[in-house]
Symmetry: C2
Subunit: 202 residues, 2 copies
């Protein structure tokens, strides 16, 4: 069976809310969950989509909805002082780790979510990301290289291109057997599809 | 108890999908469901929000999601040949009917949804809307006046202003005890709130 491909941004509250449920769904149905962290603003920009948090009416609504959705899903949440932020630093480290140690990469990723969404950590700070990387076994020299070097940059740029090609228009954005599902609120439809195996109605 | 206020657009598939569930939730919890049909493009324009269906990547995703969501909710659906369309004609008729006969207004509204989303009816056609209005008891002269006269225009314009003031940023958009819920996918959170009576977490 094909993996479930999951595009997301480390600074996306809805990705953070969706991840535990998606990991459980994938496991229950014997699928791999293939993490694909990207920087959403770069994908949106390529598609000509204005950042929703730039519009006051949407920002007001989404801040309310983010806090409520965390409570609804029963997930610890402290709304970040600054949102949106660019998540290119943790995404670069993830992609450097993923090649050599995929489970350390996911461990680092979960730690980034937890630090940003429950501890008020600034994930745009190089020092903070290097500290988080150390907890997943990257020594400081390697972490510095992952954060600022050309390898992490190149891998992340390639994933942003892949996301644009795959029609990603938000975060989280899952692709299951070629079918796209956007949003934490599509988990019930993913579960239904995994159970029903029916095709998209024409 | 306060009614649940529901802003929506007659040409919004997600409003059509959400309506049966919202009517049931309102009934189960002894609340009135206060319909507030608006023309969404006018509200979006006032807020500076670009129509999502104008962006190819969003359009592709939403067409897939609309068809799938209909199947997921078990609701008959034939994707309209043209979408989005302006729903000002049925909205004007609704508001004219609502004053004198609220239940006929809702009956007309359900008929509009059914005609547009299952029968391929063109709800931008005056003749089609006059025919639908006749089924809810409006004679042709009154229906013509509701469709093109100043009363329907003025009532709809006032509702669009109310929607802008209430922070509406899409359709359907429900307000429950002052708390906003955007999207057919927020029904589980509305149900949870009606059951839990908890406050939005700060």
């Amino acid at each position: 069976m094909e993996p479930i491909r999951l595009y997301f941004d480390f600074a996306s509250p809805y990705a953070y809310f969706a991840l535990p449920g998606l990991e459980k769904l994938a496991e229950d149905h014997g699928r791999e969950l293939e993490w694909r962290p990207i920087i959403l603003w770069a994908v949106m920009k390529a598609h000509g989509i204005a950042p929703p948090m730039d519009l006051p009416v949407k920002r007001d609504y989404f801040v309310t909805d983010m806090k409520r959705s965390a409570a609804f899903h029963g997930i610890p949440y402290r709304h970040p002082a600054r949102l949106p932020v660019s998540s290119h630093l943790p995404a670069r480290v993830y992609w450097c780790l993923a090649d050599t140690d995929p489970s350390a990469a996911k461990e680092f990723g979960r730690d980034v979510f937890r630090a940003f969404f429950t501890e008020g950590e600034d994930i745009t700070s190089e020092a903070a990301i290097i500290r988080l990387a150390a907890r997943s076994g990257l020594d400081e020299a390697k972490a510095r290289d992952a954060v600022g070097g050309s390898v992490g940059r190149a891998k992340l740029a390639a994933m942003v291109d892949a996301a644009i090609a795959d029609g990603v228009c938000g975060s989280p954005f899952a692709i299951l057997d070629g079918e796209p599902f956007f949003g934490a609120d599509r988990l019930p439809q993913i579960a239904w599809r995994l159970g029903s195996q029916a095709k998209v109605p024409g």
